[in-house]
């Protein structure tokens, strides 16, 4: 399956784009998505270490399965305030 991960802030600037498209096996989890992001981009590798994903606007556990059509966002290095 194919999923798109939205990138923001330092992650988007490091990658030079605001999203990453990944091809993953069915049943892939958020942990798999983070691994795939780090493997796809050396710029993102140090950022995804310790980062979290949001799936459909909720912070997701690493073991949560993702599906095609989910809205997935990399939540890393937030700096509100």
């Amino acid at each position: 399956m194919r999923v798109r991960v939205k990138l923001f802030g330092p992650a988007a600037r490091a990658a030079g784009r605001d999203h990453a498209d990944l091809t993953l096996p069915a049943g892939a989890t958020c942990a798999h998505v983070l691994d795939a992001l780090g493997s796809q981009s050396s710029e993102l590798e140090p950022i995804v270490s310790g980062a979290r994903l949001a799936v459909n606007h909720e912070l997701a556990d690493p073991g949560l399965s993702v599906n095609e059509g989910d809205e997935i966002a990399l939540i890393a290095l937030v700096s509100g305030g």
Partner: protein
């Protein structure tokens, strides 16, 4: 109990304090301000990127959690999106409770959780380019 969350384009404007409910005995207001100096360099503005609707949902959830946990009267929060000039307000948090102790604790807890969990990012717009770096403003 009341909770209000607002995302504002640009700086948070000055507003008169609303009337307090009869049960209120303390109001703690925190304002976050765009610092004019970052890493020893002058900045013109901070640019805030906000992932919506998740950011508003999380701010609302944090506020409701803290109102329940501390028995507060209410929390109002406004956060900026987009460009905030140096010196201007980018965050206003207003915590209303019966006593000061829980209001101060809740305000600190709110900011801690905002900075840890809420999908908002800020990026400095430098006043002048760094001669030692090839980084440039967008």
């Amino acid at each position: 109990m009341s909770v209000s969350v607002t995302i504002v384009d640009g700086p948070i404007p000055e507003e008169p304090d609303p009337a307090n409910p009869a049960s209120a005995g303390a109001v703690v207001v925190f304002q976050g301000v765009a610092r004019a100096i970052e890493q020893g360099r002058p900045i013109a503005a901070l640019e805030y990127e906000v992932y919506e609707p998740m950011a508003s949902q999380m701010l609302d959830r944090i506020a409701r959690d803290l109102v329940d946990r501390f028995g507060l009267v209410g929390i109002d929060v406004a956060h900026s999106r987009g460009s905030v000039p140096a010196g201007a307000c980018s965050l206003r948090l207003r915590v209303v409770g019966r006593h000061r102790g829980e209001c101060f604790q809740a305000a600190c807890a709110f900011i801690d959780r905002l900075k840890r969990d809420v999908p908002i990012w800020k990026h400095p717009i430098w006043s002048e380019p760094d001669a030692d770096s090839d980084e440039s403003n967008p």
